[in-house]
């Protein structure tokens, strides 16, 4: 796709109705979808959105539920948890609690987007603009996706994974495979090297190298576990005290895959598959606000552009705006419908305000964003989309105006106090701390406990010790023991997890639990 940004004429000045609307009814046909897509694509090109080719798939509501329950993987291995997800989705849908309407879009090349047949034509157009041009350009442009995922290989890899898991089920039984998958899923969020760029996923490569791995892996592990210690090792106190691994490891699944003593080759391969999927979802978990905000900003902007060109009529816009405002509705903290900050609202507000800061900056904007105020808005938005994740995006671009509009405030909850404290609100002294706090809220390592592999007792009982570093004394949740049991299942020997705050162990978990006699 061409890189040149073909700037549209100032859309505000153009007369609506200059052309004939594409359609007036609300029933869709394949021809109409194609026409809308062509026009939306033309608008997207005017704004310089660079996308993968699109594959739009029209599906039924039931198929949409299938797609929902496989957590966005168009091809997935079989697992009970997806069945649970499906039952949940079906229940919600049948009760009418949940609109299935929107979008499922797969980060693949071509980019697959699902349209539900029940949707009206304006809804289909909204989803096309949102998913096929909004999300799609984000997938292609954002640095996290560029670094962590290979859109052209993911479908093949998923097929490889499904076949491999099915093969294992045939050979080792459904139960044995399910056990391993359960344990891997419990650790899926800990299957990523956050600071290292992973090698790209490739199904062909995987299949080719799988054989190779099978042969060499076991030898590697045997080397590690060679049990006869050399005498001079024991004489050297420094060597004896050296931990394994020498540096703490944050990628628990990787460590287990490579070092667990008792796992069979196929079990290691399954760990690897779950790890790779964790890696595939990793960018999405860190860019929810940006990704949804970007897609929402563009469906809004593209469809307004269509209106300015006279390609859609007032009735279309009314229906579209109604859906749009439902999407970006943010219930206040004291509403019964409040369930945290709506990422669509936050992201849409920031991108919209960013454009405003570029186009019609105020004194405040010039003070806060001297480099951006008055700059080319398209370039600035594209820059923001490409080079940030939620945490840094908020830190960089959340403006005082958005904080005021959303009436943001921060509350501290300290278990050592008998009251909550309001620590910052949307006012002059509050803007910077508020922005910092909100940014931190989207930092994965703040959202999820920091747990790393600390040590393996290589010469002794082979036990594995994990270490949790609490932030602000926040302890681990009630699932912890259960997860440690899963780690134990994978590791095969004793597993310890200790929370170490400032050098002191404040909490311990063990599997199996220590027997009282040992005390």
């Amino acid at each position: 796709m061409s890189k040149t940004v073909d700037r549209p004429n100032a859309p505000e000045n153009q007369q609506p109705g200059a052309r004939k609307p594409i359609s007036t009814g609300s029933e869709w046909t394949f021809e109409l979808i194609q026409q809308y897509d062509e026009e939306i694509a033309r608008c997207a090109q005017e704004f310089g959105l660079d996308t993968y080719p699109n594959q739009i798939e029209v599906i039924s509501a039931e198929q949409m539920m299938d797609a929902y329950s496989s957590v966005g993987m168009p091809v997935g291995y079989h697992h009970w948890s997806f069945g649970k997800q499906f039952l949940n989705t079906a229940k919600g849908y049948q009760r009418g609690q949940m609109g299935l309407a929107y979008e499922i879009v797969i980060n693949s090349n071509p980019c697959i987007a699902y349209l539900m047949e029940e949707n009206t034509l304006p809804m289909q157009a909204l989803v096309i603009a949102h998913a096929c041009y909004g999300h799609n350009s984000f997938f292609k442009g954002n640095y996290l996706f560029r670094t962590w995922t290979d859109a052209s290989a993911i479908i093949d890899y998923l097929v490889f994974a499904r076949n491999y898991v099915a093969e294992c089920e045939e050979r080792h039984g459904v139960d044995a495979v399910e056990e391993i998958l359960d344990s891997c899923h419990a650790l899926m969020n800990y299957g990523v090297d956050r600071y290292k760029r992973p090698p790209p996923i490739s199904a062909a490569e995987e299949a080719r190298r799988q054989k190779e791995r099978e042969e060499y892996q076991q030898r590697r592990i045997n080397d590690l576990w060679r049990t006869i210690p050399r005498l001079d090792d024991d004489d050297d106190p420094v060597r004896r005290q050296r931990r394994f691994p020498e540096e703490p490891q944050e990628n628990l699944l990787y460590f287990i895959e490579k070092n667990a003593p008792l796992l069979e080759t196929w079990q290691r391969e399954i760990i690897r598959i779950v790890r790779k999927l964790g890696q595939y979802f990793y960018p999405q978990r860190q860019t929810q606000v940006m990704n949804e905000g970007w897609a929402t900003f563009w469906h809004y902007t593209l469809l307004h552009r269509m209106y300015d060109k006279g390609l859609v009529n007032d009735g279309f816009m009314l229906e579209f705006l109604q859906s749009h405002s439902a999407v970006v509705y943010q219930p206040p903290f004291n509403s019964p419908w409040y369930s945290g900050i709506n990422p669509y609202t936050l992201g849409f507000s920031i991108f919209t305000d960013l454009r405003r800061i570029c186009e019609t900056p105020t004194e405040e904007d010039r003070e806060w964003f001297p480099d951006i105020a008055g700059s080319d808005w398209l370039e600035t938005l594209h820059f923001a989309m490409r080079n940030f994740k939620d945490e840094s995006f908020i830190q960089q671009f959340l403006s005082p105006k958005v904080m005021r509009d959303l009436k943001l405030f921060a509350i501290e909850n300290d278990d050592q106090e008998d009251h909550y404290t309001v620590t910052a609100i949307h006012d002059d002294p509050g803007y910077r701390p508020l922005r910092e706090k909100l940014a931190r809220q989207y930092n994965l390592s703040y959202r999820e406990p920091n747990i790393q592999v600390w040590n393996v007792d290589v010469r002794g009982d082979r036990s594995l010790t994990l270490r949790h570093i609490p932030v602000d004394r926040v302890p681990l949740g009630e699932d912890t023991e259960e997860v440690v049991r899963h780690v134990h299942r994978l590791w095969g020997f004793d597993v310890h997890l200790e929370s170490v705050d400032d050098g002191t162990v404040v909490e311990e978990y063990h599997c199996p639990p220590p027997s009282p006699i040992e005390e």
């Binding site: 959303l406 909850n413 609100i425 302890p475």
Partner: protein, 431 residues
């Protein structure tokens, strides 16, 4: 542009999640089985053929992950401030942990309910209901099934046994043959007879050399010869015979008949009948899963037995004494006239409160042993009474000793026991 590919996937299979759903049900089969068992003895009878709502405690179903717990110091940013200013302190509600934190760590299903509820289909309901149950002798009957044949008509053949002779078709064949063989000669005979007639009625020629007598003689001889010829064509020949052709086709015995025998004498209360009814329904549902076609025969009895429809069977009342053998005799009669054991898998369930004329009980035993049990797959007797057994029970115990494979008996005191007893009666027996 033109890079977009639009695909209609609606005709592709839905139910991509079927396997995952099945995996889910499999994993939680213990929970589901319990829900199904509860449902069976709570539900009314007309109601057994539908799905069921199953609830599983959320904690049993959670997928654990590492996450933050309550406690420590946490800060959260929220929208929609109204009157707060920095430094405000809000007293914590008593007794509750802080709620401000933990956003996004609650159950991803949102509602924070304690139960995960979902619907299983009727099919699944029945699968769980009959899990681990197997009708006895099913295997044996399966072997036997392959020996059951039926004959189907397959046109006609010219060889066969006299019993299969098709008379009409054979005579039609003979007629055709006779026409074929004799037709030309008969026509000649008719022509010659016409000439003969003409000669006879013609005036006599005076010249004896031209006397008609010679010609008449020639014609008459020829006619006689031809007639003899025609007479020699047989009226029916072996090649005319046509027999109905039947070929043997193996016939799977996929049909079953279920006999419900129930005592409706004065001593059977509506409660007894309700219990019996549920038992019969379980049996019916069970058979329905295993056979394509099922007939149900209802036989009620007091001092005499009668075949009735379902409505009358369960709901009309009788008074008077009890002669159980009358029902067994009627059952035998019905088998003989309508349900040949070579084509039907025969099951029987008898429900009674154990009351019988003492003289009759040995008769029942003998009837069962001699004429019923050799014909049926399985005969189950349930005695619905909390009281001591009477003569009939002891008589049946002797039968049980002799026919442990095809006879079973149990006592039921209250509705809660139906299902366990049913399971016991139809338990999968270790091979």
């Amino acid at each position: 542009m033109g890079m977009t590919h639009i695909v209609d996937r609606r005709l592709n299979g839905k139910n991509k999640s079927a396997v995952n759903r099945e995996r889910f049900l499999r994993r939680y089969r213990h929970h589901i089985k319990k829900a199904v068992a509860d449902a069976v003895h709570k539900r009314s009878i007309t109601d057994v053929e539908r799905g069921e709502k199953v609830s599983i405690p959320t904690r049993d179903i959670d997928e654990p992950i590492f996450h933050h717990g309550q406690g420590g110091r946490r800060e959260m940013v929220h929208p929609g401030n109204q009157e707060f200013v920095a430094g405000d302190m809000i007293p914590k509600p008593q007794g509750g942990g802080g709620q401000g934190g933990g956003q996004g760590q609650a159950s991803p299903d949102g509602e924070g309910m304690d139960e995960f509820a979902f619907q299983i289909t009727q099919e699944e309901f029945l699968d769980f209901l009959f899990d681990d149950l197997e009708l006895p002798n099913l295997a044996r009957k399966k072997l036997k099934d392959t020996e059951a044949f039926k004959y189907v008509r397959a046109g006609f053949t010219n060889q066969g046994v006299p019993a299969k002779l098709d008379v009409v078709r054979s005579l039609r064949g003979a007629h055709a043959r006779r026409l074929g063989l004799g037709g030309a000669r008969k026509k000649k005979i008719r022509d010659l007879e016409k000439q003969l007639q003409a000669l006879k009625s013609a005036p006599e020629d005076l010249d004896p050399a031209f006397s008609h007598d010679d010609q008449i003689k020639v014609l008459e001889d020829e006619i006689a010869r031809l007639k003899a010829n025609v007479r020699r064509i047989p009226f029916i020949d072996e090649i005319d015979l046509r027999y109905r052709q039947h070929v043997k086709q193996p016939k799977p015995a996929t049909s079953a008949v279920m006999f419900c025998l129930m005592d409706v004498s004065g001593s059977m209360t509506q409660m007894h009948k309700d219990i019996a009814k549920r038992f019969f329904i379980l049996l019916y549902l069970f058979l329905k899963k295993n056979y394509k076609k099922i007939d149900v025969v209802f036989i009620r009895h007091h001092t005499s037995a009668k075949e009735v429809d379902e409505e009358e069977f369960f709901y009309s009342r009788e008074t008077g004494g009890t002669i159980v053998s009358s029902a067994i005799k009627l059952m035998h009669k019905i088998i003989e006239s309508r349900y040949s054991p070579s084509e039907w898998n025969i099951y029987a369930a008898q429900a009674s409160d154990g009351d019988n004329w003492n003289d009759d009980s040995p008769v029942c035993g003998k009837l069962l042993a001699d004429s019923i049990l050799p014909l049926v797959q399985y005969y189950a007797y349930v005695e619905i009474t909390p009281q001591d057994h009477q003569m009939l029970w002891y008589e049946y115990e002797k039968i049980l000793e002799r026919f442990p494979q095809s006879f079973a008996m149990q006592q039921i005191a209250d509705p809660g026991e139906i299902y366990p007893v049913f399971r016991q009666l139809f338990e999968r027996k270790a091979a």
